[in-house]
């Protein structure tokens, strides 16, 4: 168990509130800490005693605390007005539109999500919306004039703080109300678990104050709750486990490796070490010769970040003797684009209702080039749909990473299609390339295995890891 997992376990409510919480003035709004430490409260466990460089909201810094309390109107929650929430029928997937720069035509979606912090910006010291009326707003983001809009208030701290600073003086709630917004999801002011609860309560109150102001202006609102463990407000909260499967050019499954769980700042180094180890083993087992041409194609379920690309580039630089080219391919499952084949009448569903399945679904393997670096490919054809009620299958979007030196999208698309015809799990085609699917299977099994006592992922290193244990 890594340190973060251990901390999460320690902070999990045990059901018994610490005795030390009984003397705390925040007991009533907080409810008390019940993480199993019966004689310690949050200040005993997480407070530095009021250091100047500490940025938590804490009564041990009385001047700062009073100022913060003035901002939120104290720690009372019973004086907040009821939040107004209108019924809203949302589809299962709402596309998030950040800007309109890459589209020539309006996005034809009934409901779209926008980032409120992209609507408001500081101009000449004024925090003002880019549009004054609903139609101008929709045209600014190139969405349909009649699209319903959900404002997603979750963002990085700097945007949230800017909103908090200007919202009252500039009447931001009234400005939002004028834009005919269907829902505003609350700003996610940080709820850290391992900080004094005064900080958490302050941030909770801030979100509720923002929502109350919006609600009062007539905007339907949704509070947003999440908590995370952090080494501090500016500390990185996540740890990453990288699961890599490696295939040779002829489609053979070679190996799966697992990078260690490390802090994010060490992630690039850890990824580099993991890749070096993997490529080293492959080069030996496949007998690579100096000056040989080697092509590395990285399929990833998420966009490759700079740290990951840098790790790969460092690896390639360290390989030395080989003529290496590489491509970073993001395999996007969730996107708003569908492909239709109007000539497709569907396949009989044989479900006893004489239904047809996969109507309008393009044949498996059809692909459409959207741009020089984006291709849509259908990996689930009408025959692969299980039953008529499953509806239209979605294509997979392939997006080439910017740092790639190999950029033949036709080759890469065919390769993805080949890998999706290849699964050892079934005689049928796979809806995803096995490069991604196997990693998902491994991740799911590792997640379940991690709940077992005495489990250690190191047990997978060796013969088991080279086999297809996850099928």
């Amino acid at each position: 168990m890594n340190a973060n997992a251990r901390l999460r376990l320690e902070l999990r409510p045990s059901g018994v509130v610490s005795v030390a919480c009984q003397s705390c003035f925040l007991l009533e709004p907080c409810g008390g800490l019940n993480n199993g430490n019966l004689f310690l409260n949050c200040f005993n466990q997480f407070c530095c005693g009021g250091n100047n460089d500490c940025d938590h909201v804490c009564p041990y810094k009385p001047d700062d605390y009073r100022r913060r309390m003035f901002e939120v109107g104290g720690m009372r929650f019973d004086d907040l007005p009821a939040l107004r929430q209108s019924p809203l029928d949302l589809p299962r997937y709402v596309p998030m539109v950040h800007h309109a720069y890459r589209r020539s035509d309006p996005l034809k979606a009934g409901v779209v999500a926008l980032d409120p912090y992209m609507i408001f910006c500081l101009r000449d010291g004024k925090y003002a919306a880019v549009a004054d009326d609903p139609i101008t707003l929709r045209r600014h983001f190139k969405v349909a004039d009649d699209a319903r809009i959900v404002l997603r208030g979750t963002a990085e701290d700097r945007f949230l703080e800017r909103y908090w600073e200007h919202r009252k003086a500039e009447g931001v709630a009234a400005q939002i109300a004028r834009l005919n917004v269907s829902l505003f999801i609350g700003p996610n002011y940080s709820h850290f678990l391992n900080v004094p609860r005064s900080d958490l309560l302050y941030n909770r109150k801030r979100q509720l104050v923002c929502l109350a102001e919006l609600s009062e202006a007539g905007v339907s609102v949704a509070p947003m709750g999440s908590a995370r463990v952090s080494a501090g407000r500016l500390g990185e909260a996540q740890r990453v486990v990288g699961i890599t499967t490696v295939f040779s050019g002829d489609g053979n499954y070679c190996v799966s490796t697992l990078s260690r769980a490390v802090p994010f700042e060490d992630y690039a180094a850890e990824l580099l070490a993991s890749l070096q180890n993997t490529i080293g083993r492959l080069s030996k087992s496949m007998g690579w010769q100096p000056k040989e041409h080697v092509r590395l194609v990285f399929h990833a379920f998420k966009p490759l970040k700079e740290a990951e690309e840098e790790a790969v580039k460092a690896l390639i630089a360290s390989l030395g003797d080989y003529d290496v080219e590489y491509a970073f391919l993001h395999v996007v499952e969730n996107h708003p684009i569908l492909l239709f084949d109007e000539a497709q009448k569907g396949e009989p569903a044989y479900d006893g209702r004489n239904g047809m399945k996969g109507v309008y679904a393009p044949e498996r393997g059809r692909y459409l080039r959207l741009s020089g670096h984006e291709v849509l490919i259908t990996l689930t054809g009408p025959r692969d749909v299980k039953q008529a009620s499953d509806g239209m299958p979605r294509p997979v979007l392939l997006r080439l990473g910017r740092g790639s030196t190999f950029n033949d999208m036709t080759y890469l698309t065919r390769q993805v299609n080949t890998f999706a015809c290849h699964s050892w799990r079934s005689y049928f085609y796979s809806p995803l390339p096995v490069t991604i699917l196997y990693s998902e299977l491994i991740a799911r099994l590792l997640g379940n295995l991690s709940t077992l006592p005495q489990w250690n992922p190191i047990q997978l290193v060796g013969r088991i890891g080279e086999g297809r244990w996850f099928l």
Binding site: S23, C24, F25, L26, L27, E28, P29, N41, F43, C47, P59, Y60, P62, Y65, R66, M69, F70, G73, G74, M75, R76, D79, P196, S198
Partner: protein, 124 residues
């Protein structure tokens, strides 16, 4: 003097002015003579309070008393009619719900505390 320096000075001056205006616009309890001039008697809850200490007064959740807090620990409680005006001020909508008090006297026998709202001028 360079233009950038002059611009920086203008910016600093504006920041200072803004800060002062903000401070002046911040409502306090100090404009309430009934609250400022009252000597509050608080019953001790925890020890460790000495004359001259600055404590924070918070309205208790039950709405009937005022807690005097040192750090996060409730060290004393102001109850009854004596707390009423202070309590009402602390519970006003939009009020920060906290004010600093300075300990004027601690009874050596009972441990009862006499405190005044601190106006930041060291009085009390």
């Amino acid at each position: 003097m360079g233009e950038n320096v002059l611009k920086g000075q203008v910016k600093d001056f504006k920041k200072g002015t803004d800060r002062t205006l903000k401070d002046m616009a911040t409502p306090t309890l100090f404009d309430r003579p009934d609250i400022m001039s009252t000597v509050y008697t608080a019953a001790p809850v925890e020890g460790g309070v000495t004359k001259g200490d600055r404590l924070e007064a918070h309205a208790a959740a039950d709405g009937r008393s005022v807690h005097l807090v040192k750090g996060h620990v409730v060290v004393a409680r102001i109850e009854g009619d004596g707390a009423k005006s202070l309590l009402d001020a602390l519970r006003e909508p939009g009020s920060p719900g906290v004010v600093t008090v300075r300990v004027r006297k601690v009874s050596s026998v009972s441990g009862f505390i006499e405190a005044l709202v601190d106006d930041g001028k060291g009085a009390g």
